[in-house]
């Protein structure tokens, strides 16, 4: 009876997961099939689309740019976001804390399109030509809310009494931070930074409005898509997914690690 009761929910969960993963399965499947037409039945298997992808000179530039952006995003939104979450948890007024938390999540709710064009307008007003630097600011902004959110959840049960004990024993705030706080939250900080890197690697909209004539992986994929069916997109996408999946899984493991 208990088993039967779980059958319907299990079926529903399976259905949703199929819906979410069907596109991914399709991309991976067609990155290794011979026919450039993406249809059934499948004719043969090949790795040539991967070779094709790598022989595209734009691909290496795009990959380098994407990795630079991801690194910058990870470092800055990681540092800023973790510090912000830490500051929030230390705040004594619950109302102010809730208000600041909501405000910091705004960039996740405002459509990326609006964020992208507002940054384009802003940089133009400053006279900054479009490029990687502008895009990097956009990426940090887009990742920040997610870093704040995960760190805030992680820090909610942070034990501040250890910190007070350290202070009572005469440690300076900096010393207390270096020797007590940071080692305790380090796995979460790294986890949040990896999440920021993953978000940055995948970011297209803000990038597209601010990167000018430069390339990043999603911008390259966009360009290839506009030109019609090119199965090397599937190869690039599969590699990107593998990379992102590794980052996210690593981020989760680190976030979950009990730091005591």
């Amino acid at each position: 009876m208990v088993r039967l009761k779980r059958l319907v929910p299990a079926g529903f969960v399976a259905l949703v997961l199929t819906y979410l993963y069907a596109p991914i399965a399709v991309i991976v499947l067609f990155s290794v099939t011979t026919s450039p037409r993406l249809s059934m039945p499948i004719e043969g298997l090949t790795l040539s689309w991967y070779a094709n992808a790598f022989s595209n000179p734009l691909m290496t530039t795009a990959l380098t740019n994407s990795l630079i952006l991801a690194l910058v995003s990870a470092v800055f939104s990681g540092l800023f976001g973790c510090a912000f979450a830490f500051g929030l948890v230390a705040l004594k007024q619950p109302r102010l804390r809730a208000a600041l938390l909501s405000a910091s999540l705004l960039p996740a709710i405002v459509p990326l399109l609006v964020i992208g064009i507002s940054l384009a307008v802003f940089f133009r007003a400053l006279g900054m030509p479009q490029g990687l630097l502008n895009t990097a600011f956009g990426h940090i902004l887009v990742s920040l809310p997610f870093v704040v959110l995960t760190m805030n959840a992680r820090l909610e049960n942070f034990d501040f009494s250890t910190l007070e004990a350290a202070r009572d024993l005469g440690a300076s705030p900096w010393r207390a931070f270096r020797d007590i706080t940071f080692p305790l939250i380090r796995p979460s900080v790294i986890g949040a930074a990896l999440l920021a890197a993953a978000l940055s690697l995948d970011e297209f909209v803000v990038t597209w409005f601010n990167i000018g004539n430069q390339q990043s992986l999603p911008v390259l994929v966009w360009g290839l898509m506009r030109r019609g069916i090119d199965p090397s997109i599937n190869a690039i996408a599969t590699m990107l997914f593998a990379l992102l999946a590794c980052l996210v899984i690593a981020s989760n493991i680190l976030n979950r690690k009990k730091a005591s």
């Binding site: 969960v13 819906y19 399709v26 993406l38 249809s39 059934m40 800023f80 500051g87 004594k92 409005f209």
Partner: protein
């Protein structure tokens, strides 16, 4: 870092230092750019030069043009249908994760969230591959002999946009709903059931009100992000299914672009969506209380 330390020493009890870097970043790269966008929405453009000024002409144009009105209505419609699919599905999924597969709930959540990282563009492209006229679904159905002619309505239609957007936004809606349901104790549901409440009654009077913060966030994610998307309509939507986001994007990166007009449109979109969002939140609250 040195600045943050001195600040926290000065503030002793309530160190504001850690809030400063991100706070300053938000002000400079979020608040100020939004303000810039708002200001130029009252300007005009001649060719590629922006002419400062103060005119409501852009807003008047948006509200009086039948083309923009139609686009706005279609955008609201598509976003609303997407939300009607995404939020209940995500709620049901979150309930399964929380109350049926309790111990495996976290794992299912991770799997759901991982799908987000297959790439935003890539998933849209994949849906085009699946739904296309000679795509996976049509060719499989024809190969199996279920249909003789490819189904045309699958791609370049509002349906394709809704299917794709729902897939993109579902994981985002599950996250806040699952965390909200984690705060709903199982005993509450069992108590309500023991007192003779039917399943629907429990859903309406216990589950939904207790999950309200999560529902609100999930609704905001699904509705606002669907309404603001322009990549999905431009790849799977065809010319008959463009949304207001496409027109905004064109004003900034297209031929004959008009930044002030695009800026005004962006604010109209955000304002309309916020009003719709607040209306629905009120509606849910009213339904759960009556």
């Amino acid at each position: 870092m040195a600045d943050a330390t001195t600040a926290s020493m000065g503030g002793a009890r309530r160190p504001l230092g850690p809030l400063l870097p991100a706070g300053a970043f938000y002000v400079v790269f979020f608040a100020v750019p939004m303000l810039c966008l708002f200001v130029i929405s009252f300007w005009t453009a001649k060719g590629f030069t922006l002419i400062p000024g103060f005119t409501f002409a852009n807003y008047v144009k948006i509200f009086t043009s039948p083309l923009y009105q139609a686009l706005m209505l279609r955008t609201i419609g598509v976003a609303f249908v997407t939300t009607l699919i995404v939020v209940p599905a995500a709620f049901a999924l979150a309930c399964c994760m929380r109350f049926v597969f309790e111990r495996r709930g976290q794992l299912i959540l991770q799997i759901v969230l991982l799908s987000l990282f297959s790439g935003y563009l890539v998933r849209i492209y994949a849906w085009r591959t699946i739904l296309g006229k000679q795509g996976l679904l049509n060719s499989t159905l024809m190969w199996l002999g279920v249909i003789d002619e490819p189904l045309e309505f699958l791609i370049y239609s509002n349906i394709a946009v809704v299917i794709t957007l729902s897939g993109l936004l579902l994981p985002l809606a599950v996250l806040p709903l699952y965390s909200a349901l984690l705060n709903v104790p199982r005993d509450h549901l069992e108590a309500a059931r023991d007192l003779g409440a039917g399943r629907l009654h429990v859903l309406r009077t216990v589950l939904v009100p207790m999950a309200m913060p999560g529902l609100r966030t999930a609704f905001a994610f699904a509705f606002l992000l669907a309404a603001g998307d322009f990549v999905t309509p431009s790849l799977v939507g065809g010319s008959q299914s463009l949304l207001i986001g496409n027109i905004v994007a064109d004003q900034f990166r297209g031929i004959g672009s008009n930044w002030p007009l695009g800026a005004a449109m962006a604010f109209v979109v955000v304002a309309v969506m916020l009003i719709a969002y607040l209306a629905v939140v009120r509606l849910i609250r009213w339904v759960t209380r009556w």
